[in-house]
Amino acid sequence: MIILIARRLILSLVTLFIISLIVYVGVEALPGDSATGYLGQWATPESLAALREEFGLNDPIHVRYINWLGDILRGDLGVSMVKRKPVAELIGNRFRNTVVLTITSALVGIPLAIILGVIAGLMRDKLPDVIISTTSIVAMTLPGFVTATVLIYIFAIRLEWFPAITLVPSDVSVIELLDTMLLPIITLTMIMVAHILRLVRTNMIDVMVSDYVQMARLKGVPARQIVFKHALPNAMLPTINIVALTLAWLVGGVAIIETVFNFPGIGKLLIDAITDRDFALVQGIAMILSGIYIALNLTADLLSLVLNPKLRTARGH
């Protein structure tokens, strides 16, 4: 068991290293050079040379990569050339904001998805199932920015219940932030519910026709007890992975939603950084997001191991 966990950990670190290589080379390979991009229409040969010198852009790429990796390992994400501030400082509050948005959406979305999934699974092919399944699929299929725009139109412009976009600086308190987050949370919930819901529903259906549930029924166990005590725990096990994936997707994938709602989060910062060719910032955010993705997946794997005896030996199933 410990060997298994250690192997997973080492594999994760190797993955992270490979990602760092891809991120660095990929960002460097973008057309245009950050110095010309930054100085734009008013660049002069002298100012370009000075900027390249200041940020060490004249070194060969492998030298720069090794320097950058060394800095990252020491916890230093570098300095943004465009914004002239340490990357860590730029990311700071915005990362917190994205985490707040993600967690709040997950707290709303995941229980909702599970409850709806169980209901749909238990009432397979009946009217509630049809309504839940169809609605969730439609909500998932609509691109996030369309959902966001429709919600803004209905709730901000027509009904005037919520603010249309977030108009607060990135360093406000969490309480103030929550106040402006309602529409982004609803949008994210609409997108993520279907994935989890579909899986819970399918598992629920499978479990409900399984032998031990049949047996319990024959023994005269009350229906409620069958569902909550026997069926649900078994149906939930496979959803751990998809919940982890959803959380990871939320942290990294909310960029468009953040942009539409002007939400001061890390995704919006990433998009701005790419537009500005702000290499250090793009690389820093990409590494953080990859780290979270890997960490969440690792946690999900380990959780499954702990909860499912069948997976606990190193030899496999």
């Binding site: 057309p31 245009g32 050079d33 010309t36 991009g37 930054y38 100085l39 734009g40 229409q41 008013w42 660049a43 002069t44 370009l48 465009v82 914004k83 002239r84 725009t149 803004i152 901000a156 412009i157 005037e160 603010p163 249309a164 976009i165 108009l167 607060v168 600086p169 990135s170 360093d171 409620r224 942009t259 539409v260 709602f261 002007n262 001061p264 919006k268 701005d272 500005d276 060719r277 702000d278």
Partner: protein, 535 residues
């Protein structure tokens, strides 16, 4: 047992609903709660009565909110002459010596109450107001102006160092008199002084003003947050009277669509970044008014006049002749703008030539092509990028129009961040875009021989001579003749095709007062009003 649980659930739900309702109710109460203490104070403390009489009571003025896009990648700062200047707060914090009239590009008094020149236009004497105070309470004097001129000329990367290059020295014979000694006669020197970037700073206040924003303007800086919300409060001791709003909040909103949504939902009071497609969104919004405001901003096609193929005058003229300016305006901007005759001078400028001297003419263009040695047709690469919003439309329309005269245009898209460094002022035929300028600025900054932004490499001694003659000519009509002759040269023979000036589409709440029908570079912020109940 089951019913008990349901009872619990219902109880929790009810409590939650009550909490939520309470939270919602709290928000509108806030302003109401703040108001009474203010009134009580006024009654209790007689010494403040004087102030109360002079100023409108604070609670009648509202908070003006508007947006700005990311123009310089979030690098914006408060140095008025910096290439990355953060324009919205700078225009509120600092004043200039002269400001444009409401309706035309004519200098009118601001910090300077009057000015005059000697007989030749080489020495200009400005008389300052004696009732202007900076935000820290010190009085504005000629020493501050001398310091500011030095800043305009010598600050690192100053964007107006060029136009103020004619200033040889500044004398301050007394506290309220400033004398500019110029290297050459410049009859329209007040126009140069009126430059929107030529802001007067307190002596010795740079670089501290990058943090404090301490100037003499109608608003004082409270918080500077370039990427978020910048807050300014009214300077009620302003020399031109207290401002019409109590607070201004400037929001930087990167995504333009988000900004328009926020405007439509009433979160911000006005936005100037609309395009024609946004106008229907406001059709059923009775509390908003849409204005189409002429500006002198422009996009255009630049031919390098110094290298083949466009060092050939006949070929350049053929390129000018294939253009239907009105069609370009209608298709690229849905007609929201004004036709230009290859000039980027703010409409309303007294020296601007009134109308174009030729129209689209394919036969004449074909004849010119033949004269140029391209009787069998001409093929050229046009370099563009996703830099200015109308370039894609413009390049495609030009491609269509030129094809009618046998000119084959290949559109070459380059990456937007590499465009200025790798295509502009390098390739023979590229797109460009500029903000509006006065006649003298436009002709000198973009077309004088050897200028660093002479993008068409226009190097014509007679043209430079016309500009010098205009600057030295004391008689308005004769000066106008010189400037118009120079403009006509560009229109007939020049390397730049400028089809139109783009209009600015603005959506604003109807309860705002005195929002002028001019570009925001020239707005008189002090007189814009917003009542507190305008939300």
């Amino acid at each position: 047992m089951f019913t008990k649980k349901i009872h619990w659930l219902i109880t929790i739900l009810v409590v939650l609903t009550m909490i939520l309702t309470a939270c919602k109710g709290a928000a509108p109460e806030e302003p109401v709660a703040e108001e009474p203490p203010a009134e009580v104070e006024v009654v209790e403390e007689p010494p403040t009565e004087e102030e109360v009489v002079e100023e409108p009571p604070a609670e009648t003025r509202g908070v003006l909110r508007y947006n700005t896009g990311i123009v310089y990648g979030g690098l914006e700062n408060l140095n008025p002459v910096d290439p990355n200047r953060f324009w919205p707060p700078i225009s509120l914090l600092f004043d200039r010596l002269a400001t444009p009239a409401d309706d035309e590009m004519r200098p009118t008094p601001s910090l300077a109450k009057s000015w005059e020149s000697n007989a030749t236009g080489e020495v200009w004497t400005f008389t300052l107001r004696d009732d202007v105070y900076f935000h820290d309470g010190t009085q504005l004097t000629s020493a501050d102006v001398a310091y500011s001129v030095d800043h305009w000329l010598n600050a690192e990367a100053s964007v107006i160092a060029g136009s103020f290059g004619v200033v040889e020295s500044v004398d301050t014979p007394d506290d309220f008199t400033v004398v500019f000694n110029l290297t050459q006669p410049v009859v329209d020197f007040p126009l140069i002084v009126m430059d929107y970037r030529a802001r007067v700073l307190k002596k010795g206040s740079f670089p501290d003003i990058m943090e404090t924003g301490m100037g003499s303007g109608p608003f004082k800086l409270e918080t500077l947050d370039v990427g978020g919300v910048t807050v300014l409060v009214a300077n009620d001791d302003y020399w031109d009277g207290p401002p019409g709003v109590a607070v201004i909040e400037v929001f930087m909103i990167a995504d333009n669509e988000a900004a328009i949504q926020a405007t439509r939902a009433g979160q911000i009071d006005f936005s100037i970044d609309l395009i024609a497609d946004h106008i229907p969104m406001f059709d059923d919004a009775d509390d908003f008014v849409i204005d189409i405001i002429p500006t002198g901003n422009w996009s255009g096609f630049v031919m390098r006049t110094d290298i083949p193929p466009f060092d050939n005058l006949d070929l350049r003229q053929a390129m000018h002749l294939v253009v239907d300016r009105q069609e370009m305006l209608d298709l690229a901007l849905a007609g929201l703008g004004e036709v230009s005759c290859d000039l980027g001078i703010t409409p309303g400028d007294p020296y601007l030539i009134p109308e174009c001297l030729y129209e689209q003419d394919f036969e004449a263009a074909a004849a010119k092509l033949a004269d140029a040695g391209y009787a069998d047709g001409f093929e050229i690469d046009l370099y563009t990028a996703d830099v200015c919003s109308d370039w894609t439309a413009l390049t495609e329309i030009f491609q269509q129009q030129a094809a009618n005269a046998g000119i084959e245009v290949n559109i070459v898209n380059v990456s937007s961040d590499g465009f200025w460094a790798e295509a502009w002022m390098i390739q023979p035929f590229v797109m460009t875009c500029w903000n509006e300028r006065t006649t003298d600025q436009f002709l000198n900054e973009i077309y004088r021989s050897g200028g660093s932004w002479n993008e068409s490499f226009w190097n014509v001694p007679e043209f430079d001579a016309l500009l010098d003659a205009a600057r030295a000519e004391m008689d308005f009509e004769k000066r106008k003749e010189h400037y118009q002759a120079a403009q006509t040269m560009l229109h007939m023979d020049g390397g730049t095709i400028i089809p139109y000036y783009s209009g600015m589409v603005r959506a604003a709440k109807t309860c705002l007062g005195e929002l002028p029908q001019i570009g925001l570079f020239f707005a008189d912020w002090n007189h814009i009003t917003k009542p507190a109940d305008c939300e």
